[in-house]
């Protein structure tokens, strides 16, 4: 086996522990896709043409609720802005590769494959084969993710609605939220975002409540971060 192949497979294997988080999330997204009324062909397109976790869920729910195109697009993009930060820190890893290869990397990168690749980069920044490792873990995660969505989509037809399986969607997000609650500035951001959503989601027109609530939450976090920084600076004096 060539070194490249081995490195690709090593990358794919290092994504396996993360599948515990990816599979349930993909399954509930599949349920949401079914609820939004997508056809089979649409759901295949939806799970292969784009990759964006939370942004995929929010956009498909908004689409199902007949939100206007601008609201669907703006919500999806704001939720996924963090990926621009990932692309900044992946630059040293992939700078030697061609433009189409870097574009493909942008297409298949996920939260999980980014995290695993950066951990590997910390361990061995000189590795020439890190781009292959990155490709291995990214494609493995993407493949399992897309399959989970399609399985969830098909499960939606056999499970009776009385079981309220759609309640698993907020439960998954709840557990994903916990690690992001370190520091009171981020807790404020979560509190304001959640509170604003409770008020605004049922009341704002064109399903724009979620988008506006997210912006309120981010704004509150930035403001709290300002005070937190000032507090820390005083502490150091």
């Amino acid at each position: 086996m060539s070194g490249k192949k081995r490195e690709f497979l090593r990358g794919a294997r290092s994504g396996v522990p993360l599948m515990i988080g990816v599979v349930p999330f993909g399954l509930v997204l599949g349920l949401a896709v079914r609820e939004a009324g997508l056809t089979t062909i649409q759901s295949v397109f939806f799970s292969t043409a784009l990759l964006g976790g939370t942004a995929q869920l929010a956009s498909v729910q908004l689409y199902g609720a007949q939100a206007s195109a601008i609201v669907v697009i703006a919500t999806a993009i704001i939720i996924n802005l963090r990926y621009s930060m990932y692309s900044l820190s992946l630059y040293p890893v992939l700078k030697e590769r061609s433009f189409p290869e870097r574009l493909f990397a942008a297409y298949c990168v996920s939260d999980q494959s980014y995290a695993v690749t950066m951990a590997e980069y910390e361990r061995d920044p000189e590795s020439k084969l890190l781009p292959v490792f990155f490709l291995g873990v990214s494609l493995a995660i993407f493949f399992v993710w897309a399959c989970s969505i399609l399985v969830g989509y098909n499960l939606g037809t056999v499970i009776p609605p009385e079981l309220s399986l759609d309640f698993t969607i907020p439960l998954v997000f709840m557990s994903l939220l916990i690690p992001h609650l370190k520091g009171w500035d981020r807790q404020i951001s979560a509190l304001v975002g959640g509170f604003a959503a409770v008020i605004l989601v049922p009341s704002l027109p064109l399903q724009s409540g979620l988008l506006v609530a997210i912006l309120f939450g981010i704004g509150a976090g930035v403001a709290a971060g300002f005070f937190k920084k000032a507090e820390n600076n005083r502490g150091e004096e």
């Binding site: 515990i20 964006g52 870097r102 297409y107 309220s164 309640f167 709840m174 994903l176 500035d185």
Partner: protein, 105 residues
């Protein structure tokens, strides 16, 4: 057709965002304000998705407050903090939802 145009556009915009500094504006630094605000995207987004979905049940008439979901959600939140496990959170939340629905209804 509308679906494919909408989600095709989102797919292209995702490429722009996800490849921003990898493909399109290489070797630049983010303005510090942006970098600071990115920290707050995950907590703001996730709780904005969670809170209404726990609090309300959507019906034909609109949004109804749902005490059973709120109770099950509160228990699951405690489990999520304690265990940090997706599966334990789903399991506890769903079990209490079914149990409470059975007891109340």
């Amino acid at each position: 057709m509308y679906f494919f145009i909408l989600f095709g556009t989102i797919a292209l915009l995702f490429l722009l965002v996800k490849g921003m500094f990898l493909c399109f504006i290489p070797q630049s630094k983010l303005p510090p304000f942006f970098e600071r605000s990115f920290r707050y995207i995950p907590p703001a987004v996730l709780s904005a998705l969670v809170a209404p979905a726990i609090l309300y049940t959507r019906s034909a008439g609109g949004f109804d407050i749902s005490p059973v979901k709120i109770a099950a959600g509160a228990i699951a939140f405690g489990v999520a903090i304690k265990t940090r496990s997706i599966l334990a959170t789903i399991a506890s939340g769903m079990m209490f939802l079914w149990l409470l629905t059975y007891l109340v209804g």
